[in-house]
């Protein structure tokens, strides 16, 4: 997938080549604009992409623009030159109207002013860091943290967040002084004054309250979905879909068949062997129904363990969800057949994911001891990761270095106290989009697919879809004990009823069993007491208990905790220790 990177700063030694070296897995066709105090780089995707005119580098006497990704809606033919024209005429405000999956950087040479921007939903990611009066930016953190002179210090609060959510929310990363630009924000920085400003421009909650209800929500959804799929389609090419057998990927496949009648659609499903839970039957049923060319991939640790270091390096800022490896492996498999892959990401956060019923039910009973931040606590617990385990897992030094109240609770409180949503469900949905959507789902799929030069095409996570979902009456999201009610209504006659009726299960990566079997030796090697004690981040005794599947506390979840530990530890050795 295409990429941008660069830096601004006085008397800068040339670093473009070093930055590109960390991103070269994204493509070999790259361009630089490098001057005394600035450099902009762009990596061209090897695919001939219909929206290719969108991205790239542009320079004139006053401006430099670097854009990665694509625009949608009415801006599907927008070029970097037109963006420059818009900016000159109306300033940054004009760019806040852009829609699509993009990141851009724009440098005003005369004002010495840099602006970085990320799309509204967060389909693309951009990182930045400022040190020694210089700002660096890139689509992956490794292009920054591997630069000479960058001090790679672990941010303890991020560690606590990672083990609570399995990702790091808001603008932070696992390292001090590297920031992720939040979705729907732009960041501006002035070289002369060193002034910086982070500004939100995409207010989907507010946009939702200003929207007039359509005559038929179902018709409006179908129309919008048709558009978001069409905006992402390559011309006259075969496309593929990651088909899990769940509702979201099934409706994406069904919708694609409407657009691609003349071309074969390939569907790709992954499973972990017959003895583990799988959804192959549902996926096959849908593939048969839609007439796709269906492919199945068996994944087990024997296949990927030899590549796990590389996968985690590609993932970079750690994400502790074990679904990352299946994404990576399925993308590698899919590239043998197609160059464009659609996915069903976005259905959960936008139309009612599995956490919402649980969070609502937290409020149904009284007579329980509830602290004033019980909602925040319940939300953190709902991720079912290692939030409860932090006091036992992290070393005393690490525990002293973060504040539960400030770094975990306080970042959730504004979402619960917002006045922009009246309904509790809408508050939850907004949180899911802001947090899990922007910092786990989208970056994970983007980076895993980019490793194989594939663009991540998520029509259900289009920024217009995000606004639409917030406008949608909540009874059309959750209704009568059912999630994603509107999706089920709209596709009731278009996909097999069994897929509509089936309960949500998600992809269950059998890490619980893997760490007892095929991955046990590897995990014991990476998480050996010697290494754990040397690093001083975790309590070796607790790690040992997890490895031995011998924990007395209630929420054991050995597999997931070990996966998060393994991912972090490999990342730490690669990035911080530079092993």
């Amino acid at each position: 997938m295409d990429a941008i990177f660069g830096y601004i700063g006085l008397h800068a030694p040339p670093l473009c080549q070093s930055m590109y070296a960390q991103l070269q897995h994204r493509g070999s066709d790259y361009h630089f604009i490098e001057q005394d105090h600035y450099a902009f780089g762009f990596i061209q995707t090897p695919l001939s992409w219909q929206q290719a005119q969108h991205h790239g580098l542009y320079e004139d006497a006053n401006l430099i623009i670097a854009i990665a990704g694509f625009f949608t809606h009415t801006q599907t033919t927008m070029t970097p030159a037109q963006i420059a024209h818009l900016y000159k005429k109306h300033g940054i405000e004009a760019l806040t109207q852009l829609s699509g999956a993009f990141v851009l950087s724009i440098y005003d040479k005369q004002r010495k002013h840099l602006c970085l921007m990320r799309d509204g939903a967060g389909q693309r990611t951009l990182y930045y860091s400022i040190w020694n009066k210089r700002i660096y930016f890139a689509v992956e953190p490794k292009a920054i943290h591997q630069l000479p002179g960058f001090s790679r210090r672990l941010r303890p609060a991020s560690l606590a967040q990672y083990f609570s959510f399995s990702f790091i929310p808001e603008q932070y990363t696992m390292l001090e002084n590297i920031y992720e630009l939040r979705p729907g924000y732009y960041f501006s920085w002035n070289l002369s004054t060193q002034q910086q400003q982070l500004q939100r421009y995409f207010f989907f909650e507010k946009d939702a309250s200003n929207t007039t209800a359509p005559h038929s929500w179902q018709q409006a959804f179908l129309h919008l979905f048709h558009e978001t799929v069409a905006d992402r389609l390559p011309h006259q090419k075969e496309v593929g879909v990651f088909l899990s057998g769940g509702l979201d990927s099934s409706i994406v496949t069904a919708e694609l068949t409407q657009h691609q009648a003349a071309h074969t659609i390939h569907t790709f499903t992954l499973h972990f062997g017959k003895k583990y839970y799988h959804e192959l039957d549902y996926a096959r049923m849908l593939a048969k129904h839609c007439g796709t060319q269906h492919h199945e991939l068996l994944l087990n640790p024997k296949n990927f363990l030899q590549r796990i270091q590389d996968i985690i390096w590609r993932l970079d800022d750690p994400i502790g969800d074990p679904i990352t490896v299946p994404n990576y492996e399925l993308a590698a498999f899919a590239t043998q057949h197609v160059d464009w892959i659609f996915n069903g990401e976005g259905g959960d956060p936008c139309f009612g994911g599995p956490k919402n019923f649980g969070m609502l039910l937290q409020h149904w009973y009284g007579g329980l001891h509830r602290s004033k931040d019980f909602r925040e606590h319940a939300y953190l617990t709902s991720f079912k990761k290692a939030y409860d385990d932090l006091p036992l897992l992290l070393s005393p030094a690490m525990q002293a270095a973060y504040s539960r109240q400030h770094d975990l609770i306080a970042l959730l409180t504004p979402y619960f106290n917002t006045s922009q949503a009246e309904n509790f469900l809408d508050k939850l949905m907004a949180m899911n989009i802001h947090l899990k959507g922007a910092h786990l789902i989208l970056p994970k799929v983007e980076r895993m697919l980019a490793s194989h030069h594939l663009p991540a095409l998520s029509p259900l996570f289009d920024d217009r879809m995000v606004v639409f979902s917030q406008c949608l009456p909540s009874q059309l999201k959750l209704s009568h004990g059912q999630e994603k009610h509107i999706l089920k209504q709209c596709f009731a006659n278009k996909i097999p009823q069994a897929i509509i009726d089936r309960p949500k299960n998600g992809m269950r990566v059998p890490v619980h069993f893997w760490f007892k079997g095929e991955m046990r030796r590897y995990a014991k090697h990476i998480l050996s007491p010697k290494e754990i004690n040397k690093a001083g981040i975790f309590q070796a005794e607790r790690v040992k208990q997890l490895l031995q599947y011998d924990v007395a506390e209630r929420n054991k979840r050995y597999g997931l905790k070990l996966w998060m530990l393994l991912t972090f530890e490999i990342w730490r050795r690669q990035v911080i220790e530079k092993e």
Binding site: F357, W364, G367, E422, L478, P503, V509, V511, R557
Partner: protein, 327 residues
């Protein structure tokens, strides 16, 4: 007796009932023939509360006392004696006549005690267990006097209506299933442990407790006519009596809905290896909470179809328990 606080092995007669190492004051006294000692009680509570991370009921704790009875040493002694006896018996056939007699005597010498040990093991397994009455007394004494008494123990039902939330849609979306339990205390147990959240279910007892949920339940049943209803009851009751009680208390006839009743007769429980230490008379009046906790949760987490297929198999509970940890 072992100190539950510092693990020091205190000698009661010489050192008294205050731990000489950490100052812990023992609640139970072996000289007064207390049926349980501090170390065991503390350990069982630790297990029942999963190290103070889970609420538990007296029934749940009693179930643990029954499951973790220590008679295994009798069994293993019987096995060792039997092996020695067998070896001696075999040797008697392979040596000359003079020595054969000696080996036969040795073989019998070990064989008889091995049988006695085994009989003793079987007898104790069936008869020698902590009675419910003694357990209740001991628990009361522990909760009243021990500095290690548990705040996770639920002794009385205490659910009340929730506060008025500022958002008005809290009850608007229904639930995925309804779970009916045959006693009020089990409802408290499940709610306090957040099992309703995990199962996305409304949990209510067969007496309609907590009462404020009745109108919400009626609304759900009217709107979700095919909602699965899981009915769980102990082995002392039969499903139809629970259904009748529910009808009497709430006016709702469950026979009009999709009802799943996953097991819990004494015969079914007998087949589960985890429960083989339960004496038969206990198995016949087993409350829900006396099953391994993960099994109860598993029963309403799994689909009825799976239960129908799996419940009678010995692997069923192992599957359920593993599923609890499954990501």
């Amino acid at each position: 007796m072992k100190c539950p606080q510092c693990n020091y092995n205190q000698r009661r007669k010489r050192q008294g009932i205050k731990c000489i190492q950490c100052g812990y004051v023992f609640v139970f006294d072996p000289l007064r023939n207390d049926p349980v000692l501090d170390y065991r009680m503390a350990n069982m509570i630790k297990k029942a509360s999963s190290n103070d991370t889970q609420y538990f009921t007296p029934d749940m704790l009693y179930g643990l006392f029954l499951r973790y009875r220590k008679h295994d040493h009798l069994f293993y002694t019987a096995v060792v004696l039997l092996i020695i006896s067998a070896i001696s018996g075999i040797m008697s056939f392979n040596v000359d006549t003079a020595n054969a007699k000696s080996y036969t005597i040795i073989s019998l010498f070990f064989f008889i005690p091995s049988i006695l040990y085994y009989i003793s093991y079987r007898y104790k397994k069936v008869h020698n267990y902590l009675s419910r009455k003694d357990f209740d007394k001991a628990l009361q004494k522990w909760q009243k006097n021990s500095i290690l008494s548990s705040y996770k123990l639920i002794e009385t039902p205490g659910l009340r209506p929730p506060p008025d939330w500022k958002e008005k849609d809290i009850f608007s979306y229904g639930v995925e299933k309804i779970i009916i339990l045959d006693n009020n205390l089990s409802v408290d147990l499940m709610i306090k442990n957040n099992e309703h959240v995990n199962a996305k279910a409304l949990i209510i007892s067969s007496t309609g407790y907590p009462k404020y949920l009745k109108p919400i339940l009626k609304k759900i049943l009217a709107e979700q006519t095919d909602i699965p209803i899981v009915l769980l009851h102990g082995s002392s009751r039969q499903a139809h009596t629970v259904v009748q009680q529910f009808k009497n208390k709430t006016g709702i006839d469950l026979n009009n809905y999709t009802l799943q009743i996953p097991g819990y007769t004494a015969e079914q429980l007998k087949e589960i290896k985890y429960l083989q230490n339960y004496p038969p008379e206990v198995r016949h009046k087993l409350s829900l909470d006396m099953l391994p906790y993960a099994a109860t949760i598993g029963l309403f987490s799994l689909s009825a179809a799976l239960l129908a297929e799996e419940f009678n198999k010995s692997s069923a509970l192992a599957y359920i328990i593993e599923d609890d940890d499954f990501e």
